[in-house]
Amino acid sequence: MGLVNPATENQADETTTVSAVSPNFVTTKLDFLTNWARSNSLWPMPFGTACCAIEFMATAASRFDLARFGMERMSFSPRQADVLICAGRLPFKLAPVIRRIWDQMPQPKWSISMGACASTGGIFDNYSMVQGIDTIIPVDVYVPGCPPRPEGLMYGILLLQKKIKGETITDDALREETLVGPSGLFLPPERVDELSEPFGNSVQQTRSS
């Protein structure tokens, strides 16, 4: 043994791995490295419209400390953001706004639908509210709750990190996104209607009264 790493010199079992010989490089799979880097430096674009945004702020504050997951930088510009967190209900008037923010975010990008209203319309099954933001933009993780506790949102973020770690950069289809025809819709109209169907107590209310 000509080379001796001072850090491991006194250890009983002398290792002969590459890192022991020269700590300046590692070998790994490209996918693993890319996903590791991406999932641990997610910069969120907060789209807070309601009470969920309060819980989101609590998640980012010191007690729950979102920075532990590499998300310490809130990106208030979509150009520098990786993950769109829609925290709160989305009225139809804001639909083109969130769509444009999503379009302005560079790939790779992900989105989290936080809370009942963003995910399904929640209690707002009325004329002015989008029945789930998945009719406007693609959604990766849905966080249930009204509003979700910070632990809930962090669990959703961990799920998203897990999802990112399962991706591969060779699959271009992961990043594909096409609009349906010239309508600007991201899903076919009948799918939007299906997703927006009333559920729970709402089914007792008829459309025309």
């Binding site: 139809f92 008037k93 639909a95 004329y127 002015s128 939007v192 209607d193 009264s209």
Partner: protein, 207 residues
């Protein structure tokens, strides 16, 4: 049960305007007077400017549509005199078979600007003389009608897919001025071509 005191303003209104004050009553201690549509502006101006009345603060303008389809729509003015610490509620009944029009009180209280826009947006009542009567809550091109009317279905007139399509096609910035978009102050610092595009009325990108 003791009868609740009627605001002295009602008697003053009756002696001043006579038949233009259609009826009045007291509800939960609040005096309410119905005024004829054609005299609404005169009555409100008189209440604002006459010494002894001085209702100088317009708390709210709103409207009511009742379940009974025969019953007229009512525009409600809630007035307050800040000096005398007194309130008065005035209502104007609008027959649904006639055009839903009433004179704007923007010239009396500037605060009526957005209040009247909201009533126009939600009930479809036109305020004659309002300088900028546009929708304020729903977007400009909203085509489903007036949401707070009783004949408006809770989930809207169109299917969800159609509502989503129309909302996405709304291009909201196109309907706002530079001031409303909060970029008027930065206008001078923008590049020439961007200034020209904004001056032409271009907002954002059109799909």
């Amino acid at each position: 049960m003791q009868s609740q005191p009627v605001s002295p303003s009602i008697a003053a209104l009756r002696s001043e305007f006579g038949a233009a004050i259609e009826r009045h009553f007291v509800s939960s201690g609040q005096s309410v007077a119905y005024i004829a549509r054609d005299h609404s502006h005169d009555v409100l101006a008189w209440l604002k400017d006459t010494p002894g009345q001085e209702y100088n603060y317009l708390t709210d303008v709103t409207a009511v549509d009742y379940r009974d389809p025969e019953r007229p729509l009512e525009v409600v003015y809630q007035l307050r005199s800040l000096g005398r610490k007194d309130d008065l509620r005035l209502k104007v009944a609008l027959d649904k078979r006639a055009p839903l029009e009433v004179r704007s009180v923007y010239d009396l209280w500037r605060g009526a600007d957005w209040l009247e826009r909201e009533v126009y947006d939600m009930f479809g009542i036109t305020f004659v003389g309002h300088p900028d009567l546009r929708r304020i809550l729903m977007w400009e091109t909203y085509a489903e009608g007036y949401p707070l009317r009783k004949d408006f279905p809770l989930r809207g007139q169109f299917s969800r897919a159609e509502q989503t399509r129309q909302a996405l096609a709304a291009n909201p910035e196109a309907h706002y001025s530079l001031e409303e978009l909060s970029i008027a102050e930065a206008y001078g610092e923008l590049p020439k071509d961007v200034q020209e595009r904004l001056a032409r009325g271009e907002r954002g990108f059109l799909k």
